[in-house]
Symmetry: C2
């Protein structure tokens, strides 16, 4: 099988996103290989050898997605037996012309600790963990957003993604079985109502997820799942809480939709 390489002198996250976005348009299978921190000439030669071995093995040239700005390292990689896709080269000079400034490749590296947003993000992760799953209901004045919903509707992964990627302090609070009779907003949430965002999920999907956790329980029964979903959606409507059905969406999509809807500021750019 042909190999797609994602290579960079840093984390190679940009190369991965770049290559992945392109290859996902094609119904073709690849081996994938990420090579990060190619920061020295030695490492560059070693990487070229690896690419050339993959070329020989497959009998066709690998695809290489890279973002090198250092010209010496770039030339070594570009000289391998591969098809090179260099995402930066097409855009840097048009941008230089447009901005009237030269690119300063060493100025700062994306995905490094030197990004302004870095401390925000770590603080937000700590906040979101400490305020996960209703574990700390006295701390909501510091939240940027409070996700609510029934157990297993997607609150925790979404809170963590908001925090890790965007530096947003996302608490989350689960409505439990005990809350479910004639559901109302708990007292401690009322002062923070403007920060609340609701998640819901189709009952059959909720059942599936809960079965994986606790098979043949009341918690995972069709009846219980249907009742909980019905109750929370009624609550969202009654209280005019914005909400989203997560059934068909990934964490990335849920997060993007919450950011859209709430206009929350992202600390990462």
């Amino acid at each position: 099988m042909r190999t797609a390489f994602y290579i960079s002198d840093g984390t190679a996250i940009t190369s991965e996103v770049f290559g992945h976005a392109l290859l996902s348009l094609f119904p073709v299978e690849f081996n994938h290989d990420t090579i990060s921190f190619v920061e020295t000439l030695d490492k560059a030669y070693e990487t070229r050898d690896k690419i050339n071995r993959a070329a020989k093995r497959a009998g066709e040239p690998p695809l290489v997605f890279h973002t090198f700005v250092n010209p010496e390292i770039r030339e070594i990689i570009d000289s391998s037996d591969a098809i090179i896709y260099n995402f930066l080269e097409h855009f840097v000079s048009p941008l230089e012309q447009q901005l009237g400034v030269s690119a300063k490749p060493k100025a700062h590296r994306t995905h490094s600790i030197h990004e302004n947003s870095y401390d925000y993000r770590i603080d937000a992760v700590n906040y979101s963990l400490a305020n996960d799953d209703g574990s700390n209901i006295s701390n909501y004045e510091h939240a940027d957003v409070i996700l609510v919903g029934v157990s297993r509707s997607g609150k925790t992964p979404t809170s963590l993604y908001l925090a890790l990627q965007y530096g947003i302090k996302a608490a989350n609070y689960p409505f439990t079985d005990d809350d479910m009779d004639d559901l109302t907003l708990p007292d401690f949430l009322i002062p923070h109502k403007k920060k609340i965002f609701g998640l819901t999920i189709d009952a059959p999907r909720l059942m599936d997820i809960r079965e994986g956790r606790m098979a043949n329980s009341k918690y995972s029964s069709a009846r219980q799942c249907r009742m909980e979903v019905r109750e929370v959606e009624k609550l969202y409507k009654k209280e005019k809480i914005p909400y989203l059905n997560t059934t068909k969406f990934s964490v990335e999509e849920i997060t993007a939709k919450i950011l859209n809807e709430t206009g929350l500021q992202r600390y990462k750019y």
Copy 2:
């Protein structure tokens, strides 16, 4: 100030990474605005109006980074008073030629729930949370990696990043003050030694972080921080545990270095 827009019919994560990687090469400030889920002609016209208003306000054309494949929506965005950077268009036809296949833009969308890796990632997040901070020492046989280190050396954010981004089940175990006299590997870790990866951190940086959490405590004292760091590093060397000093690295960089060193398989591509 000039605005940079990141626009897409999905999450716009690819557009953000694309624009961010380029703009970080320039010492120029921008307003940043992400517009996701531009899926209809109406939304496209609305987006164009927003771009045009920003152009008027700033007196210069905004920069627009987009990844549209739908030609109707793309044309509307391309007709706004902006400089358009379309990351896909430069690469799709060379790739089509190389692969001998036409791109199928609707085949599957990146960052969606339809990616093969999606369930792995959610399972990994649940695993990493349940096995954070030594909370579940009986469950390490299911771990892909076990991060160890002193309190506040970066274990938790790194575990979560490994899980969320790459679907890797990362447990973490903190060495505490009680472990610190003549530190040895706890019994329950010994059978899983091959999965252990150590983190360390410079004592002054550790002190800073701990001061923010618990000022003027033994926990945050210079002496304690120095002693703990010295002890764990001694342990890593004695036990031949691979380790990394996290002081100067972001979560993304720490993660990439761990993947490099361990050769762990990523479930996301």
